[in-house]
């Protein structure tokens, strides 16, 4: 699936939250069609890393380029870039005052200036793809967590993004709903979507990722194919982390 051509490139990125060095000289390249899973203990900076890619978190130094262009400053150009990068949040963040269908069509209609009828048709097809076409006219609060997260994925896909960022998409879900969301993500990965996924789902990392990134204390500690990372982690930090999560 991967073409090798880089789509997202981070070069020596540093970020501080006050005195806390959350991203410590992070460099990373994600190729077109590649699925990169970011794992690590909480507070390791993996969510922040994910959020810097569409500049929801500005960085203090270093560069980030997307599709050959450096990330622009706040303004129209940044809005355009964000419209090309889908984002899925831990807490879904569906627009609470809009129906599921309106959630999915808002971006295409207001940002891309698509005709409402065309946007609606594509939105319904996407909702069908994620298995919630019958929920289109409900409000977010009327859906289960798993359904909400699938709607959020459809909302991001409606912008026909070049890449998708997932910031712990299953961490707020009841266990029985994790599978349905991962299934949608796996099918996306199979279709060749470029994805950066911050997650604690090791099963997903094993079978859907091209590469696993392990982060600790703001640093990128390991970067390896999943079989290699899980079978033979090189760093002590990774061994320690894996022993803690895989023993039970």
């Amino acid at each position: 699936m991967t073409t090798g051509e880089p789509l997202i490139v981070l070069d020596s990125v540093n970020k501080w939250f006050g005195p806390l060095h959350v991203l410590d000289d992070v460099s990373l390249s994600v190729g077109k069609g590649e699925v990169v899973v970011v794992i690590g203990p909480s507070g390791s900076g993996k969510s922040t890393l994910c959020r810097t890619i569409n500049r929801l978190e500005p960085i203090n130094s270093g560069t980030i380029t997307f599709d050959g262009q450096p990330l622009p400053a706040e303004g129209k150009a940044l809005a355009k870039l964000r419209s090309e990068v889908g984002m899925v949040f831990q807490s879904f963040n569906l627009f609470a005052h809009k129906t599921i269908l309106d959630n999915v069509t808002l971006g295409p209609i207001k940002v891309r200036k698509e005709k409402p009828a065309a946007a609606r048709e594509r939105a319904l097809a996407l909702l069908d793809r994620v298995g919630i076409a019958n929920q289109a006219d409900k409000f977010p609060a009327q859906l289960s967590g798993g359904q909400q997260q699938r709607a959020a994925i459809a909302r991001a896909l409606a912008m026909q993004p070049k890449a998708m960022l997932f910031d712990e998409p299953t961490s707020a879900l009841d266990p029985e709903m994790v599978g349905e969301v991962l299934e949608v993500m796996t099918s996306l990965a199979r279709d060749g979507m470029t994805m950066v996924v911050v997650t604690h789902e090791m099963g997903f990392a094993r079978h859907a990722a091209n590469r696993v990134i392990f982060m600790a204390d703001g640093q990128l500690v390991e970067d390896a194919p999943p079989a290699e990372f899980f079978g033979n982690p090189r760093s002590e930090r990774a061994k320690d982390f894996l022993s803690k999560i895989l023993t039970h």
Binding site: L56, E74, A79, V85, N93, H97, L106, G107, K110, V111
Partner: protein, 235 residues
């Protein structure tokens, strides 16, 4: 108490004038307050500073001082606030169009002062919308303006409406000051007229005036209670 009946026309006239300036000031303050609120939450630092500066000045200055500035400062600058002689509007609110500028000065002061509080009420509503909503909108590529219009403001007004109502009620009561700044014949000024000039006892006159203010403020308060109850049910 016969003054209430004998001088009903004076009370009614005062009520009508006070109602006029309150309606106009409420409209003006809501518009200006919304503009200042947008400045205060905008992503552009100089605009934010401008909005914050406005609120700091007008929220922290006594209304009397603002009125002094309007009544003495504007003429010193050579302005009779003629920009408020809005064609059409001055046909309904006749005092807007008169050559005596004090009604317009008082209106300017009330609007400037109240807008600072309107801004803060609107902003508290915006802050009540979870940050994730605006973040999701930004991640879709919505601009700041679209974000406000389609995502944040439609959800924020629910949290704003009750504090906004309190601001407007306070403004109606604050309007009692305008009689001291040259506006002849508002509801409060009728007290002076009836007691000092015509020798009526103060207490009955004060009761009449109180009734006038309560007719404006109590229904507004009741409306707010209703809105709040309906929201509680919806929640």
């Amino acid at each position: 108490m016969s003054v209430l009946i004998d001088k009903f026309d004076v009370f009614a006239g005062g009520f009508w004038l006070t109602l006029q300036i309150c309606v106009l000031a409420a409209i003006g303050a809501l518009i200006l307050g919304a503009v200042v609120a947008v400045l205060r939450i905008s992503p552009v630092p100089p605009l934010r500073a401008l909005g914050t500066g406005y609120v700091n000045v007008f929220r922290n200055m006594p209304l009397t001082v603002v009125m002094f500035f309007a009544a003495f400062g504007l003429p010193a600058l050579g302005s009779n606030a003629d920009f408020l002689r809005i064609p059409g509007l001055d046909a309904i609110f006749t005092r807007l169009g008169t050559d005596l500028p004090y009604f317009r000065f008082a209106l300017v002061a009330l609007v400037l002062y109240t807008a600072a509080f309107v801004c803060e009420a609107l902003r508290s509503g915006v802050n009540a919308v979870p940050a994730g909503q605006a973040e999701a909108a930004r991640s879709l590529g919505l601009t700041f303006g679209q974000n406000l219009r389609y995502v944040v403001l439609p959800q924020s007004w629910k949290a704003s409406v009750v504090p906004l109502g309190s601001v407007i009620i306070a403004m109606i009561k604050n309007s009692a000051l305008i009689g001291f700044f040259g506006v002849v014949g508002d509801l409060s000024a009728t007290a002076d007229q009836l007691t000092s000039a015509e020798g009526y006892a103060f207490v009955p006159v004060a009761i009449g005036i109180s009734i006038g203010y309560l007719i404006m403020t109590v229904p507004l308060g009741a409306l707010l209670d209703r809105i709040e109850k309906r929201q509680a049910v919806a929640r």
